[in-house]
């Protein structure tokens, strides 16, 4: 008797589970089919394509070339002979100053290393100011956030004009004694700073919002205790606020770093990588190889370099998350 009912229950559970799974799949299908075709398959294909040579004609013209694309983008032969003849560092210097990939990597990393801390500092400053009792804080919050939603083309072209010869920025700087009156984006050192300026200006409001939320979570007792101990405002900031904000800063840094690695719009609109290769970035390099020169295999190999960089940051994030999120 018990045996039978147990069996029957098992049978019914099986049917129920099948039914549930079927229902679940109908929920998933509309999104998953699109996701699989337009994201999952291309992700897998991008790895495969980096080992092929293809100019984009019909599929039969695609050729398996092994690691050739990687040898080509890293210029392993030239960098190798340079290293053999003039030493290891001469080879590295050749890679980062002469090879397209090296230059793009150098520029992207320089841009990231400067932009991330600057954005963090600005957004913490904004959040601290707005966290004080200021009238119209909601309106100010919206104002500082607005650059983040404004379209890149309009913003970038506007900044481009503002940074031109006789533009408002140069005129203001000259009023303070600066001698520089050239278009920033045409100058090989200032072009990069123009891009950094726009990036920081655009995203500081976004991270301000995240910091504002985090500041609300800092227990007031900590400040009271610090005041009792005789800490001034600055000490309170460095010894209470900043440590309490550490998980947020960690999270914001990771998002900013990944965002910086993927920079394209600003560069494409403001400098197109120029002057020369002064602001050539990784994604711009991928775009040009893929959609201007039609070197599909080469472009895919460069894309893999970007992928590895981003995945490395993600791995760091996951491995350090516990340490920073709980302290």
């Amino acid at each position: 008797m018990t045996q039978v009912s147990a069996d029957r229950r098992k049978f019914r559970m099986g049917r129920l589970e099948r039914k549930n799974t079927l229902i679940a799949y109908t929920f998933l299908a509309p999104n998953f089919i699109g996701f699989a075709v337009f994201t999952l398959i291309p992700v897998v294909l991008s790895i495969v394509m980096s080992f092929t040579e293809w100019k984009g004609g019909d599929l039969t013209s695609m050729q398996w070339v092994g690691l050739n694309n990687y040898a080509e983008i890293f210029k392993t032969a030239k960098v190798g002979t340079e290293m053999a003849n003039k030493g290891f560092f001469a080879g590295l210097s050749y890679f980062f100053n002469k090879v397209d990939l090296g230059i793009s990597l150098k520029n992207t990393i320089f841009y990231t290393v400067v932009t991330v801390p600057l954005t963090l500092v600005c957004s913490i400053a904004l959040a601290m100011v707005l966290n004080h009792a200021v009238k119209g804080a909601v309106a100010f919050r919206a104002v500082f956030f607005f650059p983040y939603v404004a379209s890149m083309v309009a913003i970038c072209v506007c900044w481009n004009f503002m940074l031109m010869k006789n533009g408002p920025v140069n005129q203001i700087l000259m009023a303070f004694g600066s001698k520089f009156n050239k278009s920033w984006t045409a100058d090989s050192t200032m072009a990069m700073w123009a891009i950094i300026l726009v990036s920081v200006w655009r995203s500081m409001g976004y991270y301000m919002v995240i910091y504002l939320a985090a500041l609300q979570g800092v227990p007031r007792e900590l400040y009271e205790a610090a005041t009792v101990d005789g800490a001034n405002k600055w000490q309170q900031f460095t010894h209470v606020t900043l440590p309490q904000l550490r998980p947020t800063t960690f999270f914001a840094s990771i998002m900013l770093i990944i965002g910086c690695f993927k920079i394209y719009d600003t560069v494409a609109i403001m400098t197109n990588g120029g002057p020369g290769r002064a602001t050539k970035m990784l994604v711009l390099y991928i775009y040009n190889e893929a959609f201007v020169n039609f070197n599909y295999g080469l472009a895919s190999a460069i894309a893999m370099v970007l992928l590895v960089l981003v995945l490395l940051v993600t791995i760091v994030q996951f491995s350090m998350e516990d340490k920073y999120a709980n302290s």
């Binding site: 589970e17 799974t21 229902i23 679940a24 799949y25 929920f27 998933l28 509309p30 999104n31 998953f32 699109g34 996701f35 337009f38 994201t39 999952l40 992700v43 294909l45 991008s46 394509m49 984009g56 200021v134 804080a137 100010f140 919206a142 500082f144 607005f146 650059p147 939603v149 379209s151 890149m152 083309v153 309009a154 506007c158 900044w159 004009f161 031109m164 006789n166 533009g167 408002p168 005129q171 200006w201 919002v209 995240i210 939320a213 979570g217 999270f251 965002g259 719009d265 494409a268 609109i269 991928i286 775009y287 959609f291 599909y296 895919s300 894309a303 970007l306 992928l307 981003v310 995945l311």
Partner: protein, 288 residues
């Protein structure tokens, strides 16, 4: 959840030291506001000038005479209306499909038990970490072979099924007690009924966040339309504006007028819904 309110805190009556402190605070605030808004102000100002006035030396922040005709001129120089229409079609379609399908899929991930759930969810999560720029080329090849090159539909299907939407909605659904679903099941509601009558009404805030993120993201997208849309009749406002800039590179005043015009719709949406947008970021901390 950390509710974010920018409401001022209560303070005791001011001492002289505080007055100085607050003066500095407001000065910093004004400086930062000027830094943030100056490009928009300059854009507006330049859009109402004559082209030779834009880079006058010394500069004038307020135009001598307001040349409003710049704004009517741009519509004759470039098919702005077509660009606007295309962008609106893409943005609305993507927002609708994205919100609907991802809330549907998120329900399965959050509230249903089925075989392969963890594996499938891992596939979604895994691709969030993969930058789009790393697989845009094979995606393009695939889309072209489907005959979607230079068609608005390409931009729609490209952005409608992002893993981000599913992830965001699932996080929210997990916060809704499963007991609610159980009770509804006992009352004889089907899973579709539960999704429609319980989950959807309860997730208005998450849906609002997703809608705004998707809409603004799609409206401002530059690289996608740049790759896919080549004919003028198909261009979105971003790439259209870019074309206009390249073809009339010295008509500074007209470029600025077109830029201001391109910002109007997104500004309206932002001002109307900024609370949801900002609070959505504060609570989810996610990027759009």
């Amino acid at each position: 959840m950390t509710a974010i309110s920018a409401k001022p805190r209560q303070h005791a009556p001011m001492k002289p030291g505080r007055v100085i402190g607050r003066t500095i605070l407001y000065l910093v605030l004004i400086l930062l506001t000027v830094f943030t808004l100056i490009p928009f102000f300059w854009m507006l100002s330049a859009s109402l000038k004559l082209d030779r006035e834009v880079f006058s030396f010394p500069m004038r922040w307020i135009p001598e005479t307001f040349h409003w005709e710049n704004y009517s001129l741009i519509w004759t120089k470039v098919p702005m209306l077509t660009y606007f229409k295309n962008t609106a079609i893409i943005a609305i379609a993507v927002t609708f499909i994205q919100t609907l399908t991802s809330s549907f899929a998120a329900y399965a991930f959050a509230k249903l038990n089925f075989r392969g759930r963890n594996f499938l969810f891992l596939a979604y999560i895994g691709t969030i970490a993969v930058p789009w720029q790393a697989y845009m080329l094979p995606q393009f090849v695939l889309m072209r072979s489907m005959g979607l090159y230079d068609r608005l539909l390409a931009m729609i299907v490209l952005q409608s099924f992002s893993a981000f939407g599913v992830f965001l909605m699932r996080q929210f659904y997990q916060g809704i007690p499963t007991d609610l679903c159980e009770a509804a099941r006992i009352d004889g509601l089907s899973e579709y009924g539960i999704w429609l009558r319980i989950m959807l009404p309860l997730s208005k805030a998450a849906i609002a966040t997703l809608v705004i993120f998707t809409f603004i993201g799609t409206w401002n997208d530059y690289m996608g339309p740049m790759i896919y849309l080549t004919r003028d009749v198909n261009k979105t406002i971003q790439v259209g504006l870019r074309r206009f800039i390249q073809e009339n590179s010295s008509d500074y005043h007209l470029i600025m007028a077109a830029s201001v015009t391109s910002l109007v719709p997104v500004t309206i949406v932002f001002l109307a819904l900024q609370r949801y947008f900002i609070e959505g970021i504060a609570t989810s901390g996610l990027k759009g």
